[in-house]
């Protein structure tokens, strides 16, 4: 039976509320008697804390309390590990050093919180922060990854022998042997620098300990309210049922709002309990630049071995990964890089070795893409270089190396971010790439258009880059679906929402099963009082893991509806159909009952609920995939470079995405657009510049360039559906896909545009300035 709701372009249920300013964000929470917090943060990246004098600050009228690490006593504990630590195995080193609530002995990055002021207003709190006298002894900062590992380097963590946070070596096949048989070996150094996630809404938290009911309510801009609830309860010695974490509407997550247990998330609930007062802290943009986690920041020494006909014989990647001052998020990012450095290519021999380095910079944790763009950049750059060296067309060399569609499920034979072997469930790369080539008119452009424009003196280039994205990892999510007496459906799930359209796409999944209009399905996400179990929204897993849990619960409710209706309508269940909130007998349309009436019958006021059954038309179900689902796609672009100013104009942008079953093309396209805009930022605009003392030099949107509407191209999105074989809905994630191939694509297109220059792009992000420098460098050599 064709789908009625799934796959349909349905406008979003949540939009009227959002567009009319009626949606509740954390900063909208107002509680009588609420206090406001401001943090004293370090100006230094690395410094010993000698003394803090808060006496003058305490005197300021309106100041209620000031807390330092010392004031927290035994409650001062580093945050919990945020992901399972890597298994103890040969070739694995992992030194866990986690962020602290307030600096006790040593500042490890600029912006680290030293003290918190709680006052009657934020103004007073900010003023009191300036009254605090803090004596810091500046230390030499660890900024450069390579220098950080040299013996004698200053140490970020004095109790370690070096700044090595982790080391991991993975091998598939035998690279050295493959290399000995190769016709061509290419070696390069590739550098990928840091950027910010720049969510529109900064972080914020309101904590309210009600001493009389012994109950703590927290509103938090978190992508993962349940882990925050569990961890907070444990830290404060409360039952999980005494703590409710609400993640209301959130203006963008992109990774840094996962279950981070930021200093503020550790301190504010603690202070609220201590003072028995509600406390609000809302991050400002400058704080966000220093205290909210960031990503990218890797140096790769890569080698690829090929045969004369362009087949990849082996790949070797030895790289450094910048962890920042602490490493609570384990090895997720570098593992993703390792998993994606082979792209969608059949590479038999792969050696990948990462050293994670502590530096005196803000922590890195996953930001949309999470290590994957780095992996794709490496393999795609190497293939572009190989194509030139071997004289094989750049599309052809990719086609020759794709994993063939009959090889799935394909074992990549290295471990992924969940420390499970990476297995690609399904894939069919060639048709997706061909569709992208066709949509952008590759043949015609290369044969006629580009030569014509070049004759006119224009520098126009085309790029086409395929990619894969591992998505939808475990452990699990759950959902409860209930038919209410009104006939409307209520759905609750544990994950949070930061703009992904869950209130619509999840409603479509449920509507499909129980036959009600999508607007009659009310979704609740991100409230631990509504659903007790789950992990969170990250790793492009919402539609896969929560989506399938919701699908499963809705299927059970459908069965319950049919069983009860079969009794009431005296017709076999297989002759019943669910439509428009009714159950009716297929052949006798006027013999029907509404879902609301059925719900009342399932929850009677008199009589008895039969033994072995449950009241209500309700079901709770869980989905825990053993392996993730791997999505894929191809992006293509045509751009023009102004050879004098190095400004770029993107003429065409095409993406073809295969993320399995499409729930709602409108939402999917929105996800792609957002991803591409971050990808373009990572390619040509957004770069966090740190000086040699660990000072961030562009901590405002005046200097840190976000991609704006004027730089964004019109994006044409093509779809392809290869259902995941590992979940019932057949879905794969797509939240990060838009960002992943863009830097590699951009580099290819720019090189292609500047065809008469000797240019090899081996770094990201670029900028007009940097591109000019690279061209100048090539010329002067």
């Amino acid at each position: 039976m064709p789908n009625k709701f799934i796959g349909k372009r349905i406008v979003r249920n949540e939009d009227p509320q959002l567009l009319t300013g009626q949606a509740q964000f954390v900063d909208d929470v107002e509680i009588p008697g609420m206090l406001y917090a401001a943090f004293l943060r370090s100006d230094y990246a690395h410094a010993r804390l000698l003394s803090i004098d808060v006496s003058a600050a305490r005197q300021r009228p309106g100041v209620v309390a000031i807390f330092t690490a010392e004031d927290m006593g035994d409650d001062w504990q580093p945050g919990p590990p945020l992901v399972s630590p890597p298994p103890t195995a040969k070739d694995v080193i992992f030194n866990s050093r986690r962020q602290v609530p307030l600096v006790k002995d040593k500042v490890r990055h600029a912006g680290e919180a030293i003290a918190v002021v709680i006052a009657e207003s934020r103004y007073i709190a900010e003023d009191a922060v300036e009254d605090i006298l803090v004596e810091l002894e500046p230390l030499e900062a660890v900024v450069d990854l390579e220098k950080g590992l040299v013996a004698g380097s200053p140490l970020v963590h004095d109790d370690l022998d070096s700044n090595l946070a982790a080391h991991l070596l993975q091998k598939k096949g035998n690279y050295e042997e493959a290399k000995s048989k190769a016709d061509l070996v290419i070696k390069r150094r590739i550098v990928i620098d840091r950027g910010a996630a720049s969510a529109m809404e900064n972080r914020g938290i309101v904590a309210n300990w009600d001493a009389k009911s012994q109950y703590l309510t927290i509103w938090d801009t978190t992508q993962a309210p349940i882990p925050i609830r569990n961890g907070t309860a444990a830290r404060l010695g409360l039952s999980e049922h005494q703590v409710r974490v609400i993640a209301p509407f959130i203006g963008g997550g992109f990774g840094p709002k996962m279950m981070m247990f930021y200093a503020e998330e550790l301190v504010i609930p603690w202070a609220s309990k201590r003072l028995a007062r509600p406390i609000k802290w809302i991050e400002d943009r400058r704080e966000n630049f220093y205290a909210t986690t960031q990503e990218r920041g890797q140096i790769h020494d890569v080698e690829i071995a090929l045969s004369r006909d362009g087949h990849i014989l082996g790949l070797k990647d030895v790289f450094l990964h910048d962890s920042g001052a602490y490493d609570p998020y384990g090895l997720t990012i570098p593992l993703n890089t390792q998993c994606h450095a082979m792209g969608g290519y059949d590479i038999k021999n792969f050696t990948t070795e990462v050293s994670v380095v502590f530096t005196n910079k803000t922590l890195t944790t996953p930001v949309r893409g999470a290590g994957r763009p780095q992996g794709i950049f490496i393999i795609e750059r190497l293939l572009d270089i190989a194509s030139k060296e071997l004289g094989i067309d750049r599309m052809e060399i990719r086609k020759r190396n794709f994993i063939s569609p009959d090889a799935f499920p394909y074992e990549h034979k290295i471990i992924d971010q969940a420390f499970a072997p990476l297995i690609l469930d399904t894939g069919n790369y060639l048709p997706v790439m061909e569709k992208a080539l066709e949509m952008i008119g590759y043949e015609e452009f290369v044969k006629n258009e580009q030569p014509r424009l070049r004759r006119e003196g224009k520098y126009v280039g085309i790029g086409v880059v395929p990619f894969i994205e591992s998505t939808g990892v475990g452990p699990y999510e759950g959902a409860r679906v209930t038919v209410e007496a009104s006939g409307k459906i209520s759905v609750v799930t544990g994950i949070g929402t930061q703009g992904q359209g869950h209130f619509t796409s999840f409603a479509q999944i449920v509507a499909e099963q129980v036959g009600v209009p999508v607007k009659d399905v009310r979704i609740v996400t991100g409230d631990t009082a509504e659903f007790h179990w789950g992990t969170g929204t990250f790793a492009s897993r919402g539609a896969v893991v929560a989506g399938n849990a919701i699908h499963s619960a809705a299927s059970i409710v459908r069965k319950k509806i049919l069983e009860l209706a079969s009794k009431v309508l005296e017709a076999p269940a297989n002759e019943l159909e669910l439509e428009d909130g009714l159950v009716r007998v297929a052949d006798i349309p006027n013999k029907s009952i509404t879902l609301g009436e059925l719900a009342l019958l399932a929850n009677p006021l008199r009589g008895a609920v039969e033994p072995g059954t449950e009241p209500g038309l309700e079901a709770t179900s869980y989905f825990g995939p053993q392996y993730g689902a791997t999505a894929f796609g191809t992006h293509a672009m045509i751009l023009e470079v102004d050879p004098e100013t190095m400004m770029i104009k993107i003429k065409r942008y095409v993406t073809v995405e295969d993320c399995g079953t499409v729930l709602n093309p409108l939402i999917l396209e929105g996800q792609i657009h957002g991803g591409v805009s971050l990808g373009l930022g990572n390619a040509y605009y957004e770069q966090l510049h740190f000086d040699e003392n660990g000072q961030l030099l562009n901590a405002s949107f005046a200097d840190y360039l976000l991609v704006s509407a004027t730089e964004m191209p019109r994006i044409e999105v093509g779809h392809f559906e290869t259902r995941s074989s590992w979940n019932e809905l057949g879905t794969k994630g797509v939240g990060e896909a838009g960002a992943i191939p863009v830097p590699a694509l951009f580099a290819q297109a720019v090189e292609n545009a500047l065809y008469d220059q000797k240019l090899e792009i081996l770094e990201m992000p670029l900028s007009p300035n940097r591109l000019f420098e690279l061209l100048h460098k090539e010329k002067s050599q």
């Binding site: 100006d43 990246a45 600029a110 000086d691 005046a702 200097d703």
Partner: protein, 205 residues
């Protein structure tokens, strides 16, 4: 951040040296300096207000003069911190005699900045610091010239240091100068005057 440059004073080296080593004069020549006190041999403490684009605030800090070779050269070490962040720097100042009783000052230095000043002020810091140095040295030169004139006339030295506002205005002008040519400003003023006249005329009617 590296700072380097040179400046020619209209006075003999001995005079320049004396003034540079006089905290009261020095204080008037460093834009925004609110006070400068001698606290030890060759060591000063003071407060200085800083305006770099959107960043304003008071730095309190120390200035140490070392490796002194009068009247030729010395090394200045500055440490300051406050609401806008922090600043640490070392600079070498060299004075050499020129013809016509003039003195050439060359200076090279390395300055480290941090906090808000670095994160938000980075874009302006180069222009502002260069401008501040130029304004400061210009003022010092005025003092030297005043001293020269006084000596010639055998009168008391008459020298009024510029106010902080005057400094701020001069720095602002330097920053705008990067964006607008003076010709353009003239035009802008003319257009503005025309607009005001039209508005006044319309209201009168």
């Amino acid at each position: 951040m590296k700072i380097e440059g040179e400046y020619t004073f209209d006075g003999p080296r001995e005079d320049v040296w004396k003034l540079v080593r006089d905290p009261e004069i020095l204080a008037t020549c460093m834009p925004g300096t609110q006070s400068l006190r001698l606290v030890g041999e060759n060591e000063y403490e003071g407060e200085m207000s800083v305006h770099v684009g959107p960043i304003t605030g008071v730095f309190s800090g120390r200035l140490v003069v070392s490796e002194e070779v009068p009247p030729e050269s010395c090394v200045l070490t500055v440490e300051g911190k406050g609401k806008p962040g922090f600043l640490n720097g070392t600079g070498k100042v060299q004075l050499s005699e020129q013809a016509d009783h003039r003195t050439l000052m060359t200076y090279t230095g390395e300055v480290q900045i941090g906090g808000r000043l670095a994160g938000v002020g980075q874009r302006m810091i180069d222009t502002v610091s260069k401008s501040m140095i130029r304004q400061g040295l210009g003022t010092l030169n005025e003092a030297i010239k005043a001293r020269g004139v006084a000596r010639a006339d055998a009168k008391e030295v008459e020298y009024t240091p510029p106010s902080e506002t005057k400094f701020a205005a001069a720095v602002a002008k330097d920053m705008v100068g990067g964006f607008l040519s003076s010709k353009l400003i003239v035009w802008l003023v003319l257009v503005l005057v025309a607009v005001i006249l039209v508005i006044v005329w319309l209201n009168v009617k």
